[in-house]
């Protein structure tokens, strides 16, 4: 008599084939030098997956973190979870349609993505934009910048475990979305700029709400910033974390507030002026420390400068048309144009090639968040896992722009 055999996990016929491991298979085939270095684990090291759906990754960023105990040894960001192929879509849309295609890239500050596109098309077509339209563009874009920085303030604090600041910053941001909603008809993806101007003139609701908001925003901002700037836990966690020096920042092609926090006064609005920025009076705040706290404080300084610009725009707003007269079907001469705008996150540039038809032949979109995310593997080694959040939040990436 034989005993019945019971299924055993050691039975080779029951083993799950390893070649069909899931998408989170931790160790892929190393294809490059960097991957071979990253996946060679030393004694005591292990790989940890963060994201892509983690609340502190600001979207769908996935990071493979190599840790030794609580310390991060190396880090490899994995992108593409939000990739929509916007550049290919732009090649198959006509020049007016492109504006709505680029809108959702930096979805927190979509007026700047529109501005980048229309600025390069205007260069291709040699269009002169009416002065009133330029002032309206500056006015609405600076409002958008304040909204974006306010959200950053809240998010940064939220990632560090503080719940209150995001409620305060959303009070401001909500009002700005309402104001821009009155102007553009949309609250998030505005689709407001047009080639040669903007979609509509200033209206009464916009002006009255803006005037009301401008009269009280200064005091409210001071109160909201005091909440964080004087918070010892926040300041001590952010200070000295993720330091970038001037040379590294330039070598890594960093731009915007992250570069200015490292002491380089590079701002496209002054370095390569566009629109009516040369006529406006504002400062470029810089800081020398280059850490997460400096990047945070610098953005708060920029909010004050943006409010100065908004104030000047309202006082100097000229009369006239808000859009140049252009045919509905645009066929620029064959040629190339490059334009860059200073978005809240840095240099946002567009390179467009025309072949004489009504659709761009090639539309290249350069998003600052994409470049800034390269800093994370550079800054992380040696820090603790909770500091990943401080560094990623401090660089302020928007995954819509990173993944395109």
């Amino acid at each position: 008599m034989t005993t019945p055999t019971r299924p055993s996990l050691d039975d080779p016929s029951l083993a799950i084939p390893v070649e069909h491991a899931g998408i989170f298979d931790p160790i892929p085939v190393a294809r490059t030098e960097r991957q071979r270095e990253f996946y060679a684990l030393k004694d005591g090291e292990l790989l940890l997956n963060i994201g892509p759906q983690h609340p502190s990754t600001h979207g769908v960023l996935r990071m493979i973190v190599k840790i030794n105990g609580e310390q991060v040894v190396d880090l490899d960001p994995v992108l593409g979870y939000l990739h929509r192929g916007v550049e290919k879509l732009c090649e198959n849309a006509d020049y007016h349609q492109v504006i709505s295609q680029v809108d959702p890239l930096e979805y927190i500050s979509s007026l700047f993505t529109e501005w980048g596109a229309v600025l390069s098309f205007e260069k291709l077509l040699d269009v002169e934009v009416p002065r009133r339209a330029e002032y309206i563009r500056v006015l609405s874009a600076e409002l958008n910048r304040v909204a974006s920085h306010m959200l950053y303030l809240g998010w940064m604090a939220l990632d560090l475990g503080g719940i209150t600041p995001i409620l305060w910053s959303f009070a401001e941001r909500d009002e700005i979305t309402e104001i821009l909603g009155a102007l553009t008809g949309q609250k998030l993806l505005f689709n407001y700029f047009r080639i040669g101007g903007v979609n509509g003139d200033l209206n009464h609701e916009f002006m009255s709400r803006l005037g009301d908001w401008m009269s009280r925003v200064g005091a409210q901002l001071e109160a909201g910033m005091g909440l964080l700037n004087e918070n010892e836990i926040f300041v001590r966690r952010a200070r000295g974390i993720g330091v970038i020096d001037r040379e590294t920042a330039l070598r890594m092609c960093v731009s915007g507030p992250n570069l200015r926090a490292s002491g380089v006064p590079f701002d496209i609005r002054r370095a390569h002026p566009y629109s009516v920025y040369p006529e406006l009076d504002f400062d470029i705040p810089t800081r020398q420390e280059g850490d997460s706290l400096a990047r945070y404080l610098l953005r708060m300084d920029e909010v004050k400068q943006s409010l100065r610009i908004i104030d000047q725009c309202l006082h100097r707003m000229p009369d006239g048309p808000v859009s140049a007269k252009l045919p509905r079907l645009l066929r620029p001469r064959p040629g190339r144009a490059f334009s860059a705008v200073e978005a809240p996150r840095g240099l946002y540039s567009t390179y467009v090639v025309s072949d004489g038809t009504d659709q761009p032949f090639r539309m290249r979109i350069h998003d600052p968040s994409f470049v800034h995310l390269q800093l994370v593997p550079l800054l992380m080694p040696g820090n603790l896992i909770p500091d990943t959040m401080v560094i990623v939040a401090g660089l302020d990436p928007i995954m819509g722009g990173v993944d395109k």
Binding site: P28, R31, T32, E33, R34, Q35, L79, G80, H83, G85, E87, K88, L89, E91, N92, A93, D94, H96, Q97, K123, L250, R251, M252, C253, V254, S255, F266, A271, H272, R328, L329, R331, R333, P334, G335, R336, A337, F338, A340, L347, S349, Y351, V353, S354, D355, G356, T357, D358, Q359, F361, R362, R364, H366, F370, V371, L373, Q374, D403, K404
Partner: protein, 183 residues
Amino acid sequence: MDRAFKALLERTLGTSLEGPVRQRQDQTEIRIRPGDVPQVMRTLHDEPDLRFEYLADLAGVDTGTTFQVVYHLWSEVTPDWLRIIADGIPREEPRVPSLTFLWKGAEWMEREAYDMFGLVFEGNRDLRRIYLPDDFGSFPLRKDFHLADDAAKSPGGGVRPMERATAPADADATTLRRTSPGT
């Protein structure tokens, strides 16, 4: 347009330039051979009267016949954007020297160009796909990669038909575009 800058470029780069220095609006454009990229960039970056310290953009372009890599640089010595086109990269052997020795930040931009065009940047130590999965079989921004028929049509109806989903087997990339891109 910065005329003095044009003369300075011609003087400094000399034989590296392919064709004339072109200027339009706020952009100055030069063309170079792909093999000259490291040397030209090194000159532009290090030369004390040029000082192009900032790389603003790196883009791949498919002209339908060959590939280009287009760099945009910024310097405080000129009010213009400097555009450098590494021209005439063959489709069969799309190899360009990497720029990561000078700007480490170009690494991901080159990965993106590799992902979208299949351009191989020699010297980039992490050249793999960045947006698309590793087993993705083609390079979507090439002109011979066709979108499906039901993509949004141009309201200019009839100006140029959409790229077809299934091109005839004998069609090459250039026939899908009637006109050539700007020169």
